[in-house]
């Protein structure tokens, strides 16, 4: 692995929030934000020289940022998009984020981008393929990549490796780090019928540098990762379990549909602070049945 980052290059950032357009005005008109750091969606800022970039440039003089991507297409059998990677590196060089992350997924095939985070068949072939791609990306970005576990609604018959084992092997073979989305583990445990605590217990704890929290929505027999609600009690309990296993976990909340005002998000984030400090788990909302078609992974803007 050719990159310059060491363990020390992944500091504990504290408690953060995903930077979204809706909050730009609020952030520029207030000096106390109540957050320690922000995560940005990389693709929203590649080629963006408008107001969003102006807001970001203001924010990053005050608090650290990390870059989170949705188009790396890491698991795809398509060739890596070198133009995208060049621009991603350029943005990272400009913004100096604490780290750059993307997902264990693929987004399209034969040049098509579905703009969704699609599940991989988890087997030896896809593991070897993904490891090669991670190494190539790390070489091109000159950084250690941070990889997130996705939410998913189906499993392929070709899968032979549990996701936690797949991620562990990926870490072993490439030196990448992990962004663990606790809500995604909860969603997948419901959708695929496994014990989320077994999943968490099998992960290489020393490789986990960041954690995502979000709210999901029940629809029929499935739980959908809508990023549209307060965090459920089951997710807070899993978060407590993860926090107890790690020394210092940079934690953030993703909220991408029905986005509340910024102070409401901070209040939700403060629940995470309290849990990490040892407080009781708060009452989470129940995930009620919905009659609409809830959208998984809504576009974060």
């Amino acid at each position: 692995m050719a990159n310059n980052q060491t363990v020390d290059a992944f500091p504990h950032l504290g408690f953060g929030i995903g930077l979204r357009t809706k909050h730009y005005e609020w952030l520029l008109s207030h000096s106390e934000w109540g957050v320690d750091w922000f995560e940005i969606i990389s693709e929203n800022f590649i080629g963006n020289e408008g107001y969003g970039r102006h807001v970001l440039d203001t924010i990053r003089t005050v608090v650290p940022i990390v870059m989170h991507g949705v188009s790396l297409n890491l698991g795809s059998t398509d060739a890596l998009n070198l133009e995208y990677l060049k621009r991603l590196k350029q943005l990272a060089d400009e913004l100096n984020p604490k780290w750059v992350s993307d997902h264990l997924c693929w987004t399209g095939h034969a040049g098509i981008n579905t703009h969704d985070l699609l599940p991989l068949p988890l087997n030896e072939q896809s593991l070897e393929h993904t490891c090669n791609r991670v190494e190539q990306v790390q070489e091109l970005l000159q950084r250690t990549l941070v990889i997130e576990n996705p939410s998913s609604y189906l499993e392929f018959k070709q899968s032979t490796i549990p996701e936690w084992a797949f991620l562990s092997e990926l870490v072993d073979r490439t030196g990448c780090r992990l962004l663990i989305d606790v809500n995604n583990i909860h969603v997948c445990s419901v959708n695929h019928g496994y014990d989320p605590y077994v999943y968490l217990n099998q992960l290489p704890v020393e490789a986990i540098v960041q954690c995502h929290l979000a709210g999901a929505t029940a629809s029929g027999n499935l739980l959908i990762d809508t990023h549209s609600k307060p965090i459920a009690r089951e997710v807070w309990a899993l978060y407590r379990h993860l926090v107890n296993k790690t020394d210092a976990l940079s934690t953030m909340i993703e909220w991408d549909a029905d986005i509340p005002e910024f102070p409401t998000l901070v209040a939700e984030l403060n629940k995470a602070r309290a849990i990490a400090a040892g407080d009781d788990i708060p009452e989470g909302l129940s995930q009620k049945e919905t009659s609409d078609h809830p959208i998984s992974n809504p576009i974060p803007i």
């Binding site: 020289e49 703009h115 969704d116 998984s296």
Partner: protein, 285 residues
């Protein structure tokens, strides 16, 4: 597992199959049929599930989510067009566009790039239309052109970011005039030639009658500058000579060369106007 089975269950084949299921035309049954014809594999060989209903429920999250997610993006970029057409008609065009031209870009900034062109291509060719019929057929594409230009005005480089640009002096041309200065429209600026003053629809209420509220003009094109100042979008209606003048500035041009291209008697008026609108990048040398 024989060679054929290995091929149809390879990683590439699994991805080809699911991409077809998600992006091809029709209901789920048609999509599965299309995916089978392309990837040579059936849903039963791909998806773990206890029943057909379960397979469908799981696949539907991806199939439905794909369309809804991207239609929402197009609605974000084209709110005026959405109001003009109404949700049902807008979604019909948006879904057809996504099926016919699935995204091949890593960024959603490109998603709506071809939407105005697509709307124009789908206009029926009808002889002997009335003015109102012609308006109703052609206006959607023109609204889309206008809204795309607005989206780019907010996204691309403007005149604010002096320190990240070699265009060190934004806006106003200094006096005394340096004929060796370079002048150029910023990337965020679009010059449009439209048949209708579509921007007037912005002020109309949600339940207005569009054909009544728009000032129909068929005789001559309407020229419009769309850009931004201090990150706020601006529209400036242009006269023909102003449109032609700014068109010459879309590539870098020396102030002296620009002035040489216009009648001597118009130069003072031209410079006064350029200073008034203050939307250009100027680079002193």
């Amino acid at each position: 597992m024989n060679v054929h089975e290995r091929q149809t269950t390879s990683l590439e084949n699994v991805q080809s199959w699911l991409t077809q299921v998600i992006t091809s035309r029709g209901d789920l049954a048609s999509k599965l049929k299309q995916a089978e014809s392309v990837a040579g594999s059936t849903v039963h060989k791909m998806i773990q599930a206890q029943s057909v209903d379960e397979q469908q429920e799981r696949l539907s999250v991806y199939v439905t989510g794909y369309v809804l997610r991207l239609v929402e993006c197009l609605k974000e970029e084209y709110p005026l067009l959405n109001r003009f057409l109404g949700d049902e008609l807008f979604e019909t065009f948006a879904k057809a566009y996504l099926i016919d031209y699935p995204s091949k870009s890593w960024t959603l900034h490109h998603l709506g790039e071809g939407f105005s062109w697509y709307l124009k291509q789908t206009q029926p060719i009808i002889d002997d239309t009335t003015d109102i019929e012609s308006l109703l057929l052609t206006l959607p594409a023109q609204i889309a052109v206008y809204e795309r230009a607005k989206a780019m005005a907010l996204l691309l480089r403007g005149t604010e970011q002096q320190n990240r640009s070699r265009w060190v002096i934004p806006g106003v041309l200094k006096q005394p005039l340096n004929y060796e200065s370079w002048i150029q429209t910023p990337p965020c600026m679009t010059l449009l030639s439209l048949d209708y003053p579509v921007w007037s629809l912005e002020d109309a209420g949600s339940n207005m009658t569009f054909t009544q509220s728009i000032n129909i003009s068929f005789d001559k094109p309407i020229y419009l500058l769309i850009s931004r100042k201090q990150y706020r979008p601006i529209n400036i209606e242009l006269e023909c000579w102003q449109y032609e003048l700014l068109s010459k500035c879309q590539d870098m041009i020396k102030v002296g060369d620009l002035l040489a291209s216009i009648p001597w008697s118009s130069r003072d008026k031209t410079l006064r106007w350029l200073n008034e609108i203050d939307v250009l990048n100027v680079c002193e040398v």
